[in-house]
């Protein structure tokens, strides 16, 4: 009740950011665009953290490849944004994006069809990560690959995807990926108003996903997942088809990650294969561990605090930030097994 109040206040505080941004630049309460876009990015990261926490904190599936689902969601929207550039590209081709023009494509590859509709692209941002999770998850869970093995397999998955997407021949722009976006749903992307809209869209999504996850963990499914996390074999002898339950939550989690990626790309204005890099996925897991896994608030808190720290440190201590952040991870895993949230709760009680 008290906690709910705190949460609502946090959401309100976040929601106020773009409003303060709209104030004149010399107003004492003015918030610079930078902060709005950076916090918008963190919100997307928080959604990704929720996705990871749902799979790891509740069902015990530690995926080190969630960055791949995030990136796939981003690529789906990125393709839509590329299609919207239309003839405004450098080469003025009516259909093909610039990178295809200079790579000598004569027509749009088949897998680009349909992406000129926002609804289709948005759907794909959910469906493609979901399908990948379904296939990989089915293969892994069916043969009872768990724990560390699963982590390594998912890491290999994102690594393989990174290598593949780096190839220019894939038709996804290779290393440069997609940039130079112009508009989304009729709004030009480089205005404060659009930034505010995207910010609110992300915030609303975060709240909805948070609420959905909170609800899910309260249902019997949530309890089954906890049971699987703690004693998988026992759950099986109770008659639960563990493979199916894990698959369900893994696919759901991948789709949430894809959603986060879809919101992220229009805000940062670029998507490229390095989003698939295994380091990114591990980092996202670290946010969750840092904030406190197994609690949704912890995941969100972790995503915000680690990224805020990173943004700050990369400017204040460009040479030392990796060391500081690394030390922090070591200390948290060693001394705060329940993460920041565990520390806060201990303080509170």
């Amino acid at each position: 009740m008290n906690r709910r109040l705190v949460l609502m206040l946090c959401v309100l505080a976040l929601a106020a950011l773009p409003a303060f941004n709209a104030l004149p630049a010399d107003h004492p309460l003015h918030v610079p665009d930078f902060l709005v876009s950076v916090v918008g990015k963190w919100i997307c990261y928080a959604i990704l953290a929720l996705a990871i926490d749902l799979a790891w904190g509740y069902a015990g599936i530690l995926s080190l490849g969630h960055g791949a689902f995030f990136a796939l969601g981003g690529y789906a929207i990125g393709m839509h944004l590329m299609r919207l550039i239309g003839p405004r590209g450098v080469y003025g081709h009516p259909v093909l994006p610039d990178f295809m023009v200079f790579l000598g494509y004569t027509e749009l590859p088949w897998y680009w069809l349909g992406f000129d509709w926002f609804a289709f692209a948005f759907l794909m941002a959910l469906v493609v990560p979901g399908l990948l999770a379904l296939v990989v998850g089915w293969l892994a869970f069916r043969s009872r690959i768990t724990g560390v093995y699963l982590s390594i397999i998912t890491q290999a998955m994102t690594y393989a995807l990174m290598l593949a997407f780096f190839r220019n021949d894939m038709g996804f722009g290779g290393n440069n990926g997609f940039t130079d976006f112009k508009e989304l749903l009729g709004m030009p992307l480089n205005t404060g108003a659009t930034r505010a809209v995207l910010f609110y869209a992300s915030l609303v999504t975060l709240v909805l996903v948070f609420w959905g996850c909170a609800h899910l963990t309260q249902t019997k499914l949530g309890r089954v997942l906890t049971a699987i996390r703690d004693a998988e074999s026992r759950t099986r002898f109770l008659g639960y088809n563990v493979t199916r339950h894990k698959l369900f939550v893994f696919v759901l989690s991948a789709m949430i990650a894809g959603l986060a990626g879809a919101l992220y790309v229009p805000q940062v204005g670029i998507i490229n294969p390095s989003e698939f890099s295994p380091g990114n996925s591990i980092e996202a897991v670290v946010w969750v561990a840092f904030g406190g896994r197994g609690t949704l608030v912890g995941a969100v808190l972790g995503a915000f605090s680690v990224n805020a720290l990173k943004t700050w440190l990369t400017s204040v201590a460009p040479d030392l930030w990796l060391i500081v952040l690394g030390l922090l991870f070591v200390i948290v895993t060693l001394l705060l097994p329940k993460g920041l949230i565990g520390l806060l709760r201990r303080r509170g009680s």
Partner: protein
């Protein structure tokens, strides 16, 4: 410089062979200034000096090729003696064109040198001249040559020279000689000769086909070597993991950074040895124990200080070691700079070795394969034959019982982890010979190493061995068809599917013990 005696002898021989008239001595003097001219003039002068056959040119041309030829203040030319050139002297610069001419000319001039290494180089040089003028020269050299590898090269050179002859019969002989080889250069020469030899076309085609048959076999052998080489790199990178992950169950994400530290230890040892001329050639062998000890010590410290507190929580260990990896990387970057560090390869590790059948293998990779196998054997020995190995196996199988029998399990844990880390350091020494020594060195290998361990079967050194080599081979066999990236992706997907069939890897422990 031990120039004089053997070279003098060679010079005398050459003089006997080619110097027919004293007038040539004058021509020699007249040519010399051309060596200091523009590149085109230099190349022409070098060529003419080679044809002239005056042995006095040898030291000058050699110095020129080694970028040691000086033009002194008085305009005369002399090789540089000592570290710094004398006052007023300028170094004579050359380019590739001149360098090529130099090799050919030196080939002509040194073909009768008493030093086999020099003759071998000369044969290599004359091989590329492809001039009919060389035919008598090569024939004379062949007549007195006893060493088979040099003879083979000379025969090839003779074939090439004959191919350039005016006489059709001689050319036919040349084609036959080239066709008897398994040399890509000979094949190239034949291909190039097709246009000018319409009447000999059937001979040429037959010769090319014969070479192709031999080359095909050789190519297969080379692919196998490449696969083994990649496999040995994977093996080295994965062995440490096979210990820390396979035996102890610790996921060390900083494993790549230990490899990197091993490579940096190599750099440091090399720097230390640089001051001591007797040690300098041995810096790499010296780096092997040094890297092992350094990384093992850091590993032991990390185990005692951090990892020990997290046993039984593998996923937390993963995150912790990820943090440690970040720190190590940045500390090295601050201490050594972000730039690549140079590691000098000892001479015995450079160049190519020709195996029987003409299969060319690069020396450094051959050494790394041998090194990897030696490290693996040492691992087997350490685990099977030493007290430490026995205690380690005991602790792995049943910690409590081992403890009750008086084994200090904490110490064994530390030593096991140190051992695994030390192995990573050894991998670093080897990788410093083929890859960048930069703070990012380790990141490229971590995933591949995990895949090898998982594929081979956790906890089995044999599995790691087979896993590493089969992945290496598979990669190299697929590479020509699928390209580098897709081959790698295909192998990764293949492993994922394989793990699905055999979740415990190739060499899995079975039965009840495996369920825990």
């Amino acid at each position: 410089m031990p120039w004089l005696i053997p070279r003098g002898l060679a010079a005398a021989l050459a003089l006997l062979l080619f110097l027919s008239a004293p007038a040539r001595a004058q021509e020699y003097e007249a040519l010399l200034p051309g060596l200091a001219g523009g590149f085109a003039q230099q190349a022409e002068t070098v060529e003419r000096l080679g044809l002239l056959g005056d042995p006095r040119a040898i030291p000058l041309l050699q110095a020129m090729a080694d970028a040691r030829l000086l033009r002194l203040a008085d305009g005369s030319l002399a090789p540089q003696q000592g570290a710094t050139p004398p006052e007023g002297a300028t170094l004579i610069r050359i380019n590739n064109r001149v360098r090529g001419a130099l090799r050919g000319a030196l080939g002509r001039l040194q073909l009768v040198s008493p030093d086999p290494a020099e003759r071998s180089r000369a044969a290599e040089g004359i091989l590329r001249n492809r001039s009919a003028a060389d035919i008598p020269l090569i024939e004379a050299a062949l007549a007195r040559e006893a060493q088979p590898p040099i003879r083979a090269r000379l025969e090839l050179a003779l074939g090439g020279a004959r191919l350039a002859s005016e006489d059709v019969a001689v050319r036919r002989e040349g084609i036959a000689a080239l066709g008897a080889s398994a040399s890509p250069e000979a094949r190239g020469q034949l291909l190039a000769a097709r246009a000018a030899n319409a009447e000999l076309l059937p001979d040429i085609e037959a010769a090319i086909a014969a070479i192709d048959r031999r080359l095909q076999l050789r190519r297969a052998a080379e692919t196998v070597f490449q696969g083994l080489s990649l496999g040995s790199v994977l093996l080295l990178a994965a062995l440490g993991l096979a210990i820390t992950f396979g035996v102890m169950g610790v996921i060390n994400m900083a494993h790549g950074e230990f490899v990197m530290l091993g490579a940096y230890t190599t750099v440091v040892v090399q720097e230390l040895c640089r001051g001591i001329p007797e040690l300098a050639p041995w810096s790499l062998p010296l780096a092997v124990p040094a890297a092992f000890l350094v990384t093992a010590a850091i590993g032991a410290a990390m185990e005692r200080g951090l990892i020990r507190h997290l046993y039984g929580r593998p996923l937390e260990t993963l995150l912790l070691t990820f943090g440690v990896g970040m720190i190590l990387q940045q500390v090295v970057r601050l201490a050594f700079g972000a730039q690549n560090r140079e590691v000098i390869s000892p001479d015995w590790m450079m160049g190519t070795l020709l195996l029987p059948g003409g299969v060319a293998v690069t020396q450094n990779r051959l050494w790394i394969i041998l090194f990897a196998l030696a490290v693996l054997l040492a691992c087997f020995a350490a685990i099977r034959l030493t007290r430490f190995g026995l205690e380690m196996r005991a602790v792995v199988q049943n910690r409590r019982i081992a403890a009750t029998m008086g084994i200090r399990t904490g110490r064994v844990d530390a030593m096991t982890f140190a051992f695994g880390s030390g192995l990573a350091g050894l991998a670093g020494v080897a990788l410093s010979q083929i890859d960048n020594v930069s703070p990012n060195l380790g990141t490229g290998y971590i995933i591949d190493s995990f895949m090898v361990v998982v594929f081979g079967g956790v906890g089995s050194l044999m599995g790691t061995l087979i896993g590493a080599f089969s992945l290496g081979l598979l990669n190299k066999v697929l590479e020509p068809y699928a390209g580098v990236v897709l081959a790698k992706v295909a192998v990764l997907v293949g492993i994922m599917l394989f793990i699905q069939r055999r979740p415990k890897g190739l060499f899995a422990l079975k039965g009840r013990a495996a369920d825990q």
